[in-house]
């Protein structure tokens, strides 16, 4: 039977209602697109990069970003000017002069270093690259280079991969902790609830950064990148679970006395079945929203720890590791582009915040 458009709302499923409500929140939808873009960059980091992120060259340290000219003689043909590094005879500093006579054309889907796309397909194609031969003198640096002459754009792409996956992994771990402990707290109540709630209160009244700094500093120096990566993930996820546990507990408490839960119990559903088949689906959307809101804190924690030199350590690349080079004001004053890795941090944090806000409003489609 066909349903009149204005009556759709009565037969729509909860997810449909949630989606309709979410769609109305313009900023949240835009943020969702931004977040999706970030995770596409995570998947295709090596495709978006055009230089090996670890290839260093003392001859081109601290090179400023090159300007891209999009039109060549009125036709679309992006190119950059060649750059020559010379020593200033008075200060002995390295200065870079653009050479307007030399044009280095940019090509899309150009050849570059070899990698496996999505970890499987071996290829040498990159989104952009220098046309023609792989000549060492003809290179591009869209965002300039760092002290050791490594390309900042390519490093940023790889950093995005690590920073955003560490956030995702950390939030997953906090989610497990939060749902289990919050669930126990809310479902059983009584002494379990009191214990878990007091633990949360204690954890929340301790200044966390010095503690995590201490834990992170104790990681053995000889650990591999992967080991440090997981250790840091565990450390930052210990920070995020309290808020999630609070949300889950609140939902459990609100729902425990609902008719459908009571009836489920009365018809003899096991406790497991009551929780996972009847209760959890009705607050999944709340959990998703709370998880999204917890992600920015994860990203900031990782960035902060790595920035201090206690988180991920080079040769691992993350936003925090990249920002480490910007610790010194004098360096930044001469080479301001070293601060650029702060931009994706801020955009990502904002996007996750707006997205989480939108999801939280949408999670309760019957509200207001």
């Amino acid at each position: 039977m066909a349903v009149a458009p204005e009556q759709r709302v009565f037969v729509a499923s909860q997810w449909q209602l949630t989606w309709w409500r979410f769609r109305k929140h313009r900023v949240a939808v835009a943020s969702a697109v931004v977040v999706a873009g970030f995770y596409l960059a995570v998947l295709g980091a090596d495709f978006l990069a055009y230089a090996d992120p670890n290839a260093s060259e003392a001859q081109r340290g601290l090179m400023p970003p090159q300007r891209v000219y999009w039109f060549d003689d009125g036709k679309f043909g992006p190119y950059v000017h060649g750059v020559k590094g010379v020593r200033d005879p008075q200060t002995f500093k390295r200065v870079y002069r653009t050479d307007p006579s030399q044009k280095i054309p940019l090509r899309f889907f150009a050849q570059g270093f070899e990698y496996r796309f999505l970890g499987m397909i071996p290829t040498t194609r990159h989104l952009i690259g220098v046309g023609g031969s792989l000549d060492a003198t003809k290179t591009i640096f869209l965002l300039g280079t760092d002290v050791q002459g490594r390309d900042l754009w390519s490093r940023l792409m790889y950093g995005t991969r690590i920073s955003l996956t560490i956030g995702l992994l950390g939030v997953t771990m906090s989610l497990v902790l939060g749902v289990v402990l919050g669930g126990l707290s809310g479902f059983y109540g009584g002494i379990v609830d009191t214990l878990i709630q007091r633990t949360i209160e204690i954890l929340r009244s301790i200044p966390t950064i010095p503690l995590w700094m201490g834990l992170a500093a104790a990681l053995p120096r000889e650990w591999s990148i992967l080991q440090v990566y997981f250790a840091i993930t565990i450390i930052i996820s210990m920070l995020g679970w309290t808020e999630l546990a609070r949300v889950v507990r609140g939902r459990f408490l609100a729902m425990r006395e609902e008719d459908f839960v009571v009836s489920a119990r009365l018809v003899g559903c096991s406790q497991m079945r009551t929780i996972f088949v009847h209760m959890v689906p009705s607050f999944t959307s709340h959990i998703i929203a709370a998880t999204t809101l917890a992600l920015p804190a994860m990203i900031i924690s990782e960035t902060a720890l790595s920035f201090l030199g206690l988180g991920l350590r080079p040769p691992a690349i993350s936003w925090g590791v990249l920002l480490q080079q910007a610790q010194n004001v004098q360096t930044v004053a001469i080479s301001p582009w070293l601060m650029l890795p702060a931009v994706p941090v801020i955009i990502a944090v904002m996007a996750f915040n707006f997205l989480g806000d939108g999801l939280r409003d949408a999670a309760d489609p019957y509200g207001r």
Binding site: R198, G309, V329, V349
Partner: protein, 329 residues
């Protein structure tokens, strides 16, 4: 009311205990025990620790005994005011920390006061003039405060100060006051340097408080008693400040307990970027050099300070909120 404060005190004691266990764990984490590394450290300096001295140290810290005995001995020493030796500085930890701890407290408290002093009027303004230019401006600044990690904000401000004004905005003292003894001139110098770090530290918390205050006050302003007050001809400023603001203040005040730990946490990293003479840079150096007694002590003291601060704010909350004050149970 006494029950409420009593409960808070018990919780605070448990929190201090949890912090002390964690600080002890941090001291214990690196491989090797304290005395062995102390002997090795002294050997590199050319001085020799005799077997007898080493033995005394081992007994003092209960090394070789079960871990809870070691913890108990450590707590006992701390209760006597002995926080151990800093390996790197070869001086007692208390001497190394010195006035840095108090400067940390000064910076954190200044940030807290600034957070409140600005969040309250801005929040009230945003609610009363909802959707005005000022309201949007406050919302925008609030989002910046929430989204930009405070150490990045410090970095950007430092850079702008350097490039635009050729001034170094970091530090807490002018160079001539760095090591000077305390005097009114030095205090005045400190006060002049305080606003920027305090603002950077307080901005995120402030953004949150503005949002809370605005939402609470908007709820209150729609209630009938406000309309009644207005219809009786009460002047508008009085209508707003007499009851709605007071009512909206309560949930606002209860968040203070979480604001302080957040500010203290943030102060560690911001101090590093701005080069403030607080315990932040000292902690990082100690951790990197594996100077664990110093690091553990800093973590412990910061934690205890925060707990005390939170306790004080809770008592203040009781004083503000008559519902808790008059509660009998």
């Amino acid at each position: 009311m006494l029950t409420f404060i009593g409960r808070r005190v018990v919780l605070a004691i448990f929190t201090v205990w949890a912090i002390s266990v964690l600080a002890f764990a941090i001291i214990q984490l690196p491989p090797g025990d304290y005395v062995t590394s102390y002997i090795a450290q002294m050997a590199t300096m050319g001085s020799v620790v005799t077997d007898e001295e080493a033995q005394n140290l081992r007994i003092q810290y209960g090394l070789g005994r079960p871990i809870y005995v070691q913890y108990y001995k450590w707590v006992k020493l701390i209760a006597q005011g002995d926080f151990g030796m800093s390996m790197e500085w070869r001086r007692p930890v208390t001497e190394v920390i010195g006035e840095r701890l108090w400067l940390t407290v000064v910076v954190s408290v200044a940030a807290l006061i600034l957070t409140w002093a600005l969040a309250l009027p801005i929040g009230v303004y945003s609610a009363v003039r909802q959707y005005s230019v000022g309201d949007y401006l406050a919302t925008f600044v609030g989002f910046i405060g929430l989204a930009v990690p405070n150490f990045l904000l410090a970095l950007v401000l430092l850079y702008l100060g350097f490039v635009l004004f050729n001034a170094h905005i970091g530090g807490l003292f002018s160079p001539e006051f760095n090591d000077a003894p305390w005097s009114w001139a030095r205090v005045w110098d400190l006060l002049k340097h305080l606003p920027i770090p305090a603002l950077i530290l307080g901005l995120a918390g402030m953004a949150q408080q503005i949002r809370i205050m605005r939402a609470n006050l908007l709820d209150e302003l729609r209630k009938p008693y406000v309309v009644t007050a207005r219809s009786k001809g009460l002047p508008e400023p009085r209508v707003i400040t007499k009851y709605p603001v007071r009512v909206a203040l309560n949930p606002f005040a209860s968040t203070i307990g979480y604001t302080l730990p957040y500010i203290v946490s943030g102060s560690i990293i911001v101090s590093l970027v701005l080069g403030l003479p607080t315990v932040g840079p000292l902690l990082l150096k100690a951790l990197i050099a594996q100077d664990m007694f110093l690091a553990g002590t800093i973590v412990l003291l910061l934690g205890v300070m925060t707990v005390i601060g939170t306790l004080v704010s809770d008592v203040l909350l009781v004083w503000i909120d008559p519902r808790i004050r008059l509660e009998e149970t």
